[in-house]
């Protein structure tokens, strides 16, 4: 072995085991997080706290999936909420009309979402920047008005009423509050783990290349359109999962779930938490829901307070909370190394 080759092998070794280690680390963190969340009902009788975590699961899945588009690919979708609504409505309708087991409805909803997202995505991802944002918003409004006007099927502006049947499967009774809570946590953790895998896969790096410089990516032989469409559909699946958690939680589905304000909240969450780290949107979700819950208790003008907070993040920090923390950490580490 020449000196050069020896040096190369040395340089390679830590990286090689690094990728595998990273994966184990992620799974370990996920297991610990799940254990902590799942044991919460043993320590507290507070239903409000469990409800809060269930809502965090629904919004967290949705917001993190939006970050796959906004943060990782540079596709700013203003209509991502349509898949949240689509998930809630598909799941609710399948359960109400067909009475199939919950896992079947779950998978069927994902399949429906995938097909619709592929059709809408095929049209949208050809467009760039503001045009992409507008057209996704237009599709969101299309789905929302379809829900409103197809009242015989969707219940129109009243939403899906009469409750979503939640038959017991595999010993899991989602009508039971604690069971629903643990199932939501499990979906959240599994969803986050899957999205983390996507973000750290070779495909995840393809997305980063497209975000940074799509033209150059195509000169490396990457089919940019196909990669964008793929991530559009993948992100829709996780948003749909969030919608299903929401439908299970409220035992229904309402037109607001498919309204553009859901997409807006997704963008807010990403701005609050930050888009440069994987968990930024999760932090943003907790922040936004906390703000929502506390502020509405004190004033009816909670929109103004929220707006001020978001302005603080956008104009003051110029980044989300976790972006800020991550940057501060890197800065400190570099300073520690004496650079």
């Amino acid at each position: 072995m020449t000196e050069l080759e020896a040096g190369r092998a040395q340089a390679l070794l830590p990286v090689r085991s690094g990728a595998a280690l990273q994966r184990y680390r992620d799974v370990l963190i996920a297991l610990i997080a799940f254990a902590v969340l799942a044991s919460l009902p043993m320590f507290t009788g507070s239903e409000a706290l469990l409800d809060f975590v269930i809502r965090c699961s629904a919004y967290g899945l949705f917001a993190t999936s939006l970050n796959l588009l906004v943060g990782y690919t540079g596709l700013t979708s203003f209509g991502h909420g349509m898949f949240f609504g689509l998930g809630a409505y598909s799941f609710g309708l399948i359960m109400q009309k067909l009475g199939v087991p919950i896992p079947v409805a779950f998978v069927a909803t994902l399949a429906i979402t995938a097909v619709i997202a592929a059709v809408i995505g095929a049209i949208c991802v050809r467009l760039k920047d503001i045009y992409f944002a507008f057209v996704t918003l237009a599709f969101q409004m299309l789905i929302h008005s379809t829900i409103l006007s197809w009242a015989s099927f969707t219940g129109g502006d009243q939403g899906l009423r009469g409750g979503i049947p939640r038959p017991v499967f595999l010993g899991i009774d989602l009508a039971n509050h604690v069971h629903l809570y643990v199932a939501s946590c499990a979906l959240l953790i599994l969803g986050l783990l899957a999205m983390r895998q996507i973000a750290q896969s070779p495909f995840g790096y393809t997305l980063r290349m497209i975000r940074d410089n799509a033209a150059r990516a195509s000169f490396l032989g990457i089919d940019v359109w196909r990669a964008k469409l793929t991530v559009f559909v993948l992100a829709a699946l996780f948003a749909s999962m969030g919608g299903m958690v929401m439908a299970l939680f409220v035992s229904g589905a309402y037109p607001e779930f498919a309204y553009w304000t859901i997409s807006g909240e997704g963008i807010f969450i990403n701005m609050l938490g930050g888009v440069s780290t994987f968990l930024g949107p999760m932090v943003g979700t907790v922040l936004l829901l906390l703000l929502n819950d506390t502020v509405t208790r004190f004033t009816e003008y909670h929109g103004i307070v929220l707006g001020v907070v978001i302005l603080f993040f956008a104009l003051g920090l110029r980044k989300g909370l976790l972006d800020f923390v991550a940057e501060w950490y890197t800065h400190r580490r570099d300073a520690g190394e004496g650079r």
């Binding site: 340089a11 090689r16 990728a19 990273q22 495909f203 790096y205 393809t206 150059r216 032989g221």
Partner: protein
């Protein structure tokens, strides 16, 4: 062998590339020169698929690539670097190289494995060493110096192991010393990698020093082709482009 046959492209009434036919034999090193607006970059854009030619052929080993998409043309073996370094600003040098190899090995859509894939390492490592970027592997591309960004751009093209490498002004925006370092690198790459290299260059000293063959473009047409000596003494080139200084130096 890269053969260009009757390549033409107009923008409105302007013929940016006008009936250009050229041969680039395997392993050749060719400089493309010409005044501003001569159609040099357009010529590269037509070959690499960034622009679709109005007519003509781009034959690589007999396969016509004219009018195909950039990813297809890259996969056939024509790589390019850009006049303004075209890189991925938030990725580190090493990530950039590994991701590029992934793209070339058609694993850029793999979801179930972690980045980077083990089989991408050797090639990435090899090219980083070739272009002296290995010591800067963990630097984010945006923080590199201008010269290193240009090297990274070339590394991106080179790591795909192209048959033909097109370099659009590899020395653009560099100081005199840095220019020579860069062009020595280009020459070294050409000698060691045994690939066909075509580069656009404005600095005549550099062109005449290192290019065995020179193509002069003017108003989208080929004004002259030949060795440095032939070009230096070509009266049409002197009139259009060189002026008398270089002709005097040759005499």
């Amino acid at each position: 062998m890269l053969e260009i046959r009757n390549l033409a492209k107009s923008f409105g009434g302007v013929k940016a590339t006008n009936d250009v036919s050229l041969d680039f034999p395997d392993g050749s090193l060719t400089a493309v020169i010409g005044p501003n607006g001569a159609g040099k970059s357009t010529f590269f854009n037509l070959i690499t698929g960034a622009l679709k030619p109005d007519s003509g052929q781009v034959l690589l080993d007999g396969v016509d690539l004219a009018g195909r998409s950039p990813p297809e043309i890259v996969r056939h073996g024509i790589g390019r670097a850009f006049q303004v370094a075209s890189i991925f600003k938030s990725l580190t040098v090493q990530e950039t190289m590994l991701a590029a190899v992934s793209a070339d090995q058609r694993s850029s859509a793999v979801l179930h494995k972690r980045f980077p894939l083990p089989e991408t390492r050797d090639r990435a490592e090899h090219v980083m060493e070739l272009l002296s970027l290995a010591s800067k592997r963990h630097r984010t591309a945006a923080t590199l110096s201008h010269g290193d960004q240009k090297l990274l751009d070339i590394a991106l093209a080179l790591v795909l192991e192209p048959k033909v490498l097109l370099l659009d002004e590899p020395t653009a925006g560099m100081g005199p010393e840095e220019r020579w370092r860069m062009i020595d690198k280009v020459r070294e790459l050409w000698e060691t990698q045994k690939i066909t290299v075509v580069f656009i260059e404005h600095d005549m000293d550099i062109v005449f020093k290192i290019a065995p063959k020179i193509v002069v473009l003017c108003y989208g047409r080929i004004l002259a082709t030949g060795t440095p000596d032939e070009i230096r003494s070509n009266s049409a080139v002197i009139d259009a482009y060189l002026g008398t200084e270089h002709a005097g130096a040759a005499a």
